[in-house]
Symmetry: C2
Subunit: 311 residues, 2 copies
């Protein structure tokens, strides 16, 4: 077990909602001054407050968002400017799209366990609403905005930590979930009214088929390699990918009372969905200190990632 502990967490979800039938999506209104950056800052401040720490107690700031704020500099540097200006705290981005939080948590746990850093502020923030295509009903009605942050600290007494992590990427699915435009692949200068390259584009059915084919083997491998079966796990926090979550969990033989499903209330908040659902689980009594919690999800790529922690 890598000796890491979540000593603080916080999130921010816009109060404003858009409702599609009974599905609630929290989204920043067009005329709001709220941004991807301002949400990240609020989540970071909430996590620091909960940890009763000052920013100067932090050794590294890691941004784990799918989409960045600017092409240059990295998102963590822009967050740094809002909460850590005047300090020399290192800032870095880690990105695997929707599973960025898992990847960053997993990766950073090695650095903390090895003594490189004692306390890392890990933050995911997404303004998904700004990239949605009104002509693509499925994704247009699915996504939500928000931010979530945790303070990961060295665990001194061995009670908390990372038990096992596994990631796979199957690039047969690289174009099933995309925003193609904005960087070097499709430069902004080619934007024109009506061009859909700059919108989020998802072929939900293809994603679901590929995930359905790959995930059972992935989860079987995870249980075998980690030595923990679903019976040994207290709670599963899946990526809130879509309403197909129930079907996927069923396919993986994860019992209904053993996973968190808040898709109807929050939709898919991209990289924020997993940490937010985790925090929702704590705040709603579904996750207790000491529980063995499995964070698991798929991301554009197609990537699958799973991380078993002892909270």
């Amino acid at each position: 077990m890598r000796n890491v502990e979540i000593t603080g967490y916080g999130f921010f979800v816009p109060e404003d909602t858009v409702v599609f039938k009974e599905k609630i999506r929290h989204r920043i209104p067009e005329d709001s001054s709220e941004t991807q950056l301002s949400m990240a800052v609020k989540a970071c401040k909430a996590a620091l407050a909960k940890a009763a720490l000052d920013i100067t107690d932090i050794d590294c700031i890691v941004s784990a968002s799918a989409v960045g704020i600017q092409p240059i500099p990295c998102t963590a540097a822009l967050i740094h400017e809002q909460i850590a200006k005047g300090t020399g705290i290192p800032a870095m981005d880690i990105n695997t799209t929707c599973t960025s939080f898992i990847s960053a948590f997993d990766t950073v746990s090695y650095l903390i366990d090895a003594g490189r850093y004692n306390r890392v502020l890990l933050v995911a923030s997404e303004k998904a609403s700004s990239g949605l295509n009104p002509n693509q009903k499925e994704s247009y009605e699915l996504f939500g905005d928000g931010a979530a942050a945790v303070v990961l600290s060295k665990c001194e007494d061995g009670t908390s930590g990372v038990i096992y992590g596994l990631q796979n990427t199957w690039s047969e699915g690289a174009h099933d979930t995309e925003i193609r435009g904005g960087l070097t692949g499709h430069l902004p200068k080619y934007y024109h009214e009506g061009s859909e390259e700059y919108f989020f584009d998802m072929n939900g059915l293809k994603v679901l088929k590929l995930a359905g084919r790959k995930l059972p083997g992935f989860f079987k491998e995870f249980q075998e390699k980690s030595g923990y079966s679903i019976d040994d796990i207290d709670m599963v926090v899946p990526h809130q990918a879509s309403k197909a979550l129930k079907m996927i969990m069923h396919r993986l033989d994860i019992p209904e009372d053993k996973y968190i499903d808040i898709v109807a209330q929050y939709g898919n908040m991209v990289s924020v969905a997993i940490p937010h659902a985790f925090m929702w689980g704590i705040d709603n009594g579904r996750i207790k200190k000491g529980d063995k919690v499995l964070l698991i999800g798929t991301a554009a790529g197609l990537t699958a990632s799973a991380l078993l922690i002892r909270y």
Copy 2:
């Protein structure tokens, strides 16, 4: 020492050049089919060939570019599609802009040392030429395109490894080096003829002043904490930031015969500059197996990063 070894390396630099007085910049011509992705693929294949490895021998693909190809999915997944489709090799991006290669090398070395992965393919690729502003002479004449990749393997005999790594970010400089447009901060839909938000924008003098003020203390701290002084280091591979490199090296008391300066021949290749200069050093007899090599540089942020390795 973290037990990691470079068992293969390769780079790709476009043959086409643009010459400003005596400064040579290698850049993809406008009508070429070469892209950030195709360059990354060439560098990866060269590194794998040099390591005499097949892609199926690789445990993880890490992209360490400053600017991505698409907002979604991450750049590593798109590279995966070209060289690893059909496999489940995990793909992840790590980004600190120009020092991304150092950050990724440093970070990944913990994962390899701890046994998570045995062989990681690390690749940086940049098509800087597509973001340059013809109205900003300094940056317009500075940058070059290219890609560089290494295979990082577990070192079994303790002869190679990472000795020490240090990063600092001082966000007073967050807006001295930017591309503001293309992601959520300035959406592509706001692009209009003449808008400069979507171009690379650098205040070279401000960067230089901040770096000049911060780097001496940073390098002093590095030498103290690592226990290695400049006398113990065989070769320094600095980021080829600009023609001010000589001045900065002088400021850090690094002798002229102890660092690689190929700014005149290649310019600043963003995240590719450090690994490319490192490989240039090997190919030109400046770096030998077993040498203690310091990778060091600044990045937008302002970030400073240094990594002492035994090659």
